[in-house]
Amino acid sequence: AQSVTQLDSHVSVSEGTPVLLRCNYSSSYSPSLFWYVQHPNKGLQLLLKYTSAATLVKGINGFEAEFKKSETSFHLTKPSAHMSDAAEYFCVVNLLAGGGSQGNLIFGKGTKLSVKP
């Protein structure tokens, strides 16, 4: 079965320091992977996606993620945190890549990122 595990429920960083949000996936097939961000009282927004092209994926707001098949990981990083990055981040796998006829997104439990001034 395909799944994602977000290793930290809460990450706290200081403004200007690097961000690392960890995600491991389990998949029998070559997966499509995504990161979504959810700001308080806002809808989920796609941050970036991996669909078997380049393993290093760049997203919006300076975020990027690297697909590492050998480690079954898709960690999200940003060189320098900004106060506006405070939000909840979800790692997501798409079952479509596993042969599902219509696709279904499986969300991790989320990592809440806090940014201290």
Binding site: G43, L44, L46, V92, N94, L96, Q102, I106
Partner: protein, 115 residues
């Protein structure tokens, strides 16, 4: 471009009462999804429509949940009767693609509290 609209944003009801949520997707988006997000968990798919047809409702608790998208545009999700464990945020999402590419556009959600 207008985003996905949902209403009401907040609803408080007592158990065994009924509630309905409404969603208006982005104009032209053929596919519409309803997700349930329980506190501390990621969203879970309840139902997927393509135009006015149901594509996947395998995770919808059909004894109490129902959803429709009669004209292939806006959609309603109903819960009757509600249980305490239905307290959650109900998210509507849409996409222009028939197949789930993973790129969905979400509304701000409807937060339900069941007392």
């Amino acid at each position: 471009e207008a985003g996905v609209a949902q209403s009401p944003r907040y609803k408080i009801i007592e158990k065994r009462q009924s509630v309905a949520f409404w969603c208006n997707p982005i104009s032209g988006h053929a596919t519409l999804y309803w997700y349930q997000q329980i506190l501390g968990q990621g969203p879970k798919l309840l139902i997927q429509f393509q135009n006015n047809g149901v594509v996947d409702d395998s995770q919808l608790p059909k004894d109490r949940f129902s959803a429709e998208r009669l004209k292939g545009v806006d959609s309603t999700l109903k819960i009757q009767p509600a249980k305490l464990e239905d307290s959650a945020v109900y998210l509507c999402a849409s996409s222009p693609w028939a197949v789930n590419t993973g790129e969905l556009f979400f509304g701000e959600g409807s937060r339900l509290t069941v007392l």
